[in-house]
């Protein structure tokens, strides 16, 4: 049996909504099949008021062994570093976060807000939000760069806006069943099994990417969304086209450009007007290249690929 506690900071509850829709395994499977005891969760917990307060105190003191501490949302530090804009159970949430993280065997940060600050931490960051161990790309965050939990791991970051439900439940199962040692984390403490390939990996528009055929308007079933509509699939690490959403689809399959929500810089360009859903260029060349591609090589490849493009690549082949 592994005790799990889930708290929310500066959050929209999107990751909770996502978690409750998990299928492989489901949130119920965690309890019935994998021995996870949910001590409390904002949407599922039974205790109220003093009952929650006591539970949290018991977790901090060790009276209740805390195996997994899950945090969703940013750690709010406003105003002036006090954290009083986000009080919970009688004190700033950030104080609970620090003490519970120190008491837990494993700490799991769910969603962009908990991992790197996400949308709340976008400049000018009025809530003085940060992630658990990062603020955007900078190490540190609420727990500090050197933090490791009792089991010896840093916070396990599962980013996304929201995180895919199965990324969450599969990592929780791995931790709860004693297989945390199998988890390889990347430089941003993301499980490598999910965040090594790209969003583009498995995208149904890859043939259009290869032949440099662009989608120029939303709703087009032909064309790649990278060239004009701001898709970040070629430079975003996520398995969104390998582990499909609702077991059905993905943003790019549905014609929606990837926003790069599993990367620390999300939302990109601080949401300046004109930067969302539009590929940013400099002298006609994309500012952000597909990962690992150099500008000169890109230009040469594009010319060759366009010249070689077959007629079908310029047509809608997903006919109904």
């Amino acid at each position: 049996m592994a005790n799990l506690l889930w708290l929310q900071g500066g959050a929209c509850s999107g990751n909770t909504m996502s978690f409750l829709n998990a299928e492989e395994p489901s949130a119920c499977d965690l309890v019935t099949d994998f021995g996870i005891n949910v001590l409390w969760h904002p949407s599922l917990g039974l205790e109220l008021g003093e009952g929650v307060h006591k539970l949290l105190r018991d977790c901090v003191s060790g009276e209740i062994p805390l195996d997994i501490f899950v945090f969703e949302g940013t750690v709010v530090n406003a105003p002036n570093g006090t954290g009083n804009w986000n009080r919970f159970a009688g004190r700033p949430m950030k104080d609970w976060v620090r003490e519970l993280s120190e008491a837990a065997q494993f700490v799991v940060a769910i969603g962009d807000c908990a991992t790197w600050g996400g949308i709340p931490a976008t400049a000018p960051n009025p809530s003085e939000s940060s992630g658990m161990q990062f603020l955007k790309r900078d190490r540190g965050g609420a727990l500090g760069a050197g933090f490791v939990s009792k089991a010896g791991l840093p916070a396990i970051n599962i980013p996304g806006c929201p995180a895919h439900p199965d990324w969450v439940t599969q990592i929780l199962v791995a931790v709860a069943t004693g297989r945390a040692g199998d988890l390889k984390l990347d430089e941003f403490q993301r499980p490598a099994t999910f965040f090594t390939s790209f969003t583009q990996t498995g995208c149904t528009r890859n043939m259009h990417f290869a032949y440099k055929v662009s989608a120029t308007e939303f709703g087009q079933r032909k064309g790649c969304l990278f060239y004009d509509l701001g898709c970040r699939g070629p430079m975003t690490h996520s398995p969104c086209n390998r582990i499909l959403w609702n077991r059905q689809s993905s943003k790019t399959r549905a014609g929606m450009p990837c926003l790069g929500c599993t990367e620390p810089e999300f939302p990109f360009f601080d949401l300046m007007p004109g930067t969302v859903f539009k590929t940013q260029t400099m002298m006609g060349v994309p500012k952000d290249m597909p990962t690992g591609v150099a500008k000169t090589g890109y230009i040469k490849l594009t010319a060759a690929a366009k010249a070689a493009a077959p007629a079908w690549a310029e047509q809608d082949i997903f006919v109904v």
Binding site: T216, T281, M282, M283, G284, P286, T302, K306
Partner: protein
Amino acid sequence: MAEDSQASGADESRRETIRKLLDAGLDVEAFPRCDSHEQVQAVVRRLQGLDANDLPGRLVVAGVTNFTVEHPEAELAQPCETCMYYLVHRNYCELPELDIPVEPDWSCRLWRI
């Protein structure tokens, strides 16, 4: 098939009209090239403000030329044939605000790769 043929004929007719306008010395705004995103957006907004039937106006604002322009600073040739909006098999610019038949060696200042 008949529809494709009609579209091809209509494209060729419009391409010929554009060719004649450019050969006659239509004073297009080929420079400055749209180097930044803001410049691109400014030109696109001007195109969106034009009457849908104002073909010469679109050519002028987009800076369409019947020859390839090389970007002066980037030393980068900017022909239609390498542009992301160009349909190779139709010889056509698919940028919604331009939407014109072109030739591979033509050019405009909204070129993007």
